[in-house]
């Protein structure tokens, strides 16, 4: 397809995904957003759509480049791949992606942009504030900041259907 040519959309709904983040570990990090990628490479600004950018200057996502917004296509894959939170420093949720999307055979997708729609009750609540005097972001704080529902892993499919998302692999 030549540059500038308009492609007909494949879907008129958003793609469903599940992903995990690391909660901002410091007050400095909190300023960028409560949710950070696992690798702490970039933050998701609270309540805003996450739009992918690439340092190489090309539109994200792209073949052969790691740029783009990542998610697993469902909860089962996220858990199977070991990305479901197992501590109070990570949080997971439901995301919806849009724009150009590349789906991988291993059950992930990489999109142009995504928004958070819900968080999962993962069974690892944040502990009460310690005596260090340094406030650390908690899962409850993330839920409150985003104003989103908390759902069980088992409710993923129903939740996505309620929001009219395209589900793959489940």
């Amino acid at each position: 397809m030549s540059e500038g040519e308009v492609r007909t959309p494949d879907y008129s709904r958003a793609i469903a995904g599940a992903r995990a983040w690391r909660l901002a570990p410091t007050l400095w990090a909190r300023m960028g957003g409560l949710l950070w990628s696992h690798a702490m490479l970039n933050a998701w600004t609270d309540r805003e759509e996450k739009v992918a950018e690439c340092d190489m200057g090309h539109p994200a996502p792209a073949e052969g480049c790691s740029c783009g917004v990542y998610a697993w296509q469902n909860v089962d894959v996220m858990r199977r791949e070991g990305y479901a939170p197992k501590d109070h420093q990570h949080i997971a949720g439901v995301v919806a992606g849009r724009g150009r999307v590349i789906r991988g055979g291993l059950g992930y997708w990489v999109a142009e942009s995504a928004v958070v729609l819900a968080f999962f009750d993962d069974g690892y609540p944040s502990p009460a504030p310690d005596d260090s005097g340094v406030p650390r972001p908690t899962k409850a704080e993330a839920v409150e900041a985003y104003g989103l529902p908390v759902i069980r892993y088992d409710d993923f499919n129903d939740f996505c259907d309620d929001y009219g998302l395209i589900r793959h692999g489940s």
Binding site: R7, T8, P9, D10, Y11, S12, R13, A14, I15, S37, H38, A39, M40, L41, E49, P61, E63, S66, Y70, E81, A96, G97, R98, G99, R100, V101, I102, R103, G104, G105, L106, Y108, V110, A111, V115, L117, D162, Y163, G164, L165, I166
Partner: protein, 58 residues
Amino acid sequence: MVHMIRMVRRGKEKREEIYEPVEWPPKRREDREPPRRGEPSPNPERRRERRREKVPAK
């Protein structure tokens, strides 16, 4: 650290798809405004799928 992301993106990938939701950000079904009388369904790809279901000529 970038290595970690590249580890995720491996294996065979499908061709690029375009998701252009009519409604963004997505809303819960019961929070959506009901369609006005005479307005087309806000789900074009479902209409496309229906059109494909042709009965073979006898």
